[in-house]
Amino acid sequence: MPSFISCGLAVIEVSIGASAVYLDYCLERMEVYRRPDRQVSALIDTGADATVIDLDVLETLCLASYDVRRVQDFNGGTQEYPVYVVRLQVRTKSGEVIFDDANFEVVGAPLKSDSYQAILGMDVLHAFTLKFHRQTGFVEIAPTVR
């Protein structure tokens, strides 16, 4: 069953939470990780090599970066941003999971948009079939048929 949303921009909902490797680390230290997963709007960017999450979202999840990556956006300017590992899930509106990676690498950056808090790059989009209805602004997602 395909899904979803949007109002002009190609945006879908995704779930972001602590990675499996971080949860294992907490468990070994007998610490309970209490931050709930965040549901955020994500812009579909077929011109993006990687997935970017707003730094405010990553901060609420209390995650720490382990690397940096130089990013060039559409303006051509480049800047370094921190890299995190998260759990990233994408579901259709009917609840079917079409992407679930418990240790997924993302770049953290200040996105400052009212419309989305994440940018989904081709590292995620390869798992979907996407249909964008220009007149209604709706985006449909479905698992890629292999």
Partner: protein, 83 residues
């Protein structure tokens, strides 16, 4: 935004040792640095992260893929748009 300051020692050590890492481990492995010290090269990123958490703790280690040049991420959208 510049690189997180908490990784400055690790990043400096990686850059300094990159030629040796390339020679000894080749392209594609994941190097782990804690406190500016090289702790090992791993075939899998998650294995390197596990070791980093275990030995350094969250926020105190660098895991970087060994490459000849730094990878550049391209976006077709703006990083910062107007609210």
């Amino acid at each position: 935004m510049s690189a997180p300051s908490h990784l400055s020692h690790e990043l400096a050590a990686f850059m300094q040792q990159r030629p040796d890492l390339l020679t000894e481990h080749g392209v594609g492995k994941f190097a782990l640095f804690i406190g500016g010290m090289f702790k090992g090269a791993f075939a899998d990123r998650v294995e390197a992260l596990k070791k980093g958490y275990a030995q350094g703790g969250a926020g105190h280690f660098l895991v970087r893929k060994i490459t000849e040049k730094d990878e550049l991420v391209h976006l077709a959208s703006p990083i910062t748009s107007v609210r």
